[in-house]
C-alpha cells in the first residue's frame, strides 16, 4: 500500500471518527433533553400541587397567610416551600399575594404568584411560574 493510499484511508477513518463523535453527541443531547423533560414535568406538577394547597386554604384567610404569607424568598430556608421529587430533585416554591382588590363583576380577590425553582449546583434555578386569581370568600 503506497503512502497516498495510507493517507486516504487515514482521512477516511478520521472522517468516520468525527461522524461517530457527532452521533454520540446527539445521543447525549437526547438523553439530556429527556432528563430536562422529566425535571420540567416535576416542576410543573409541584407548582400545581402548591396551587391546590393554596386553594384548599382559601376559606380561611388567617390559615392561608400563616401557611403561605411569608414564602417570598427562595434563598431563605424559612421563606420557601421545599419538596423532594420522586426522581430526587430538590424543588422549592415561593408565593406572593397582591393586596386584595376588586376583580371583575365586583368580586374581591387577590392575584397570587407562584414561582417554582430547582436546586442545581447550590443555586436555585427558576423552572416554572404561575399567576392566578384567588377570590375572597364573601
Amino acid at each position: 500500500m503506497g503512502t497516498g493510499q495510507t493517507l486516504l484511508v487515514l482521512a477516511a477513518i478520521v472522517l468516520f471518527m468525527i461522524t461517530s463523535l457527532n452521533v454520540n453527541r446527539s445521543y447525549l443531547n437526547a438523553v439530556e433533553a429527556t432528563v430536562d423533560q422529566q425535571e420540567m414535568v416535576n416542576s410543573i406538577n409541584f407548582g400545581q400541587s402548591v396551587i391546590e394547597r393554596i386553594y384548599s386554604q382559601s376559606r380561611d384567610e388567617v390559615a392561608l397567610m400563616n401557611l403561605f404569607g411569608d414564602l417570598t424568598d427562595v434563598e431563605n430556608p424559612d421563606s420557601r416551600l421545599e419538596h423532594e421529587s420522586e426522581t430526587g430533585e430538590t424543588l422549592a416554591a415561593t408565593v406572593e399575594f397582591s393586596e386584595e382588590t376588586e376583580m371583575k363583576h365586583g368580586i374581591n380577590g387577590r392575584v397570587v404568584s407562584v414561582d417554582v425553582y430547582q436546586l442545581e449546583n447550590d443555586d436555585y434555578v427558576e423552572m416554572a411560574a404561575y399567576s392566578f386569581a384567588l377570590i375572597s370568600e364573601p
Binding site: Y27, Q38, V41
Partner: protein, 163 residues
C-alpha cells in the same frame, strides 16, 4: 515483511470501518427508540394523572384508601374504585359492576396517599411511575425506562362535606 503488512492492513481498516458504521447505526436506533419511549412514558404518566384528577374531583366520601387502590363515593353517589391491575389502571363504578374501564397505562407504581393532618383540608397525593417493556426496546439490556408524575389534588367536595 512488507508484503505481509500490505495484505493485512486493508482488511483491518475495512473491519474498523464496518465496526464503526454498525455501532453508529446501533446508537442512532437506540437513541431514536429511547426518545420515543421516554416521551410516550411521560405523556402516559401525565394522562393517567389527569384521568385520576378528573375522577377524584367529585369525591364526597372516601370508602377505602390503600397504597395502590382508592375507593370513594363520587358526586353522583356511585361507588368508584381506582386500582392497579399489573401494568393497567382500572376504574370500576358501582353503576357498571364487573366491567371496569381499563387504561393501558404501563404502570410500574400507582400510589395514593392522603396528605395533611386530621382537621386540615383533604389533599390526595397521587404518584405514578410508568415503565417500558423489554420488547419495546432495542437490544437486551436489563434496565427499563421509567417516567414519573406526581401531584397533590385538593378534594373540595370532601372538604365542604366535612365542614
Amino acid at each position: 515483511m512488507n508484503i505481509t503488512i500490505d495484505l493485512l492492513i486493508p482488511p483491518i481498516i475495512i473491519a474498523l470501518l464496518i465496526g464503526m458504521i454498525f455501532s453508529t447505526n446501533a446508537l442512532v436506533m437506540e437513541s431514536t427508540v429511547e426518545n420515543r419511549l421516554s416521551y410516550e412514558l411521560q405523556s402516559t404518566a401525565n394522562t393517567v394523572l389527569t384521568v385520576i384528577e378528573q375522577e377524584v374531583r367529585g369525591i364526597k366520601e372516601i370508602v377505602n384508601l390503600e397504597t395502590d387502590q382508592l375507593q370513594f363515593i363520587d358526586a353522583a353517589s356511585d361507588t368508584v374504585t381506582i386500582f392497579r391491575d399489573e401494568m393497567s389502571m382500572m376504574v370500576e363504578t358501582s353503576s357498571a359492576p364487573g366491567s371496569p374501564e381499563q387504561y393501558n397505562a404501563r404502570l410500574y407504581e400507582l400510589n395514593f396517599d392522603l396528605a395533611g393532618v386530621t382537621g386540615s383540608p383533604p389533599i390526595l397525593r397521587v404518584s405514578i411511575i410508568t415503565e417500558s417493556r423489554a420488547e419495546q426496546e432495542v437490544g437486551t439490556r436489563p434496565n427499563r425506562y421509567r417516567a414519573v408524575s406526581e401531584r397533590d389534588i385538593y378534594l373540595r367536595n370532601l372538604h365542604i362535606a366535612q365542614l
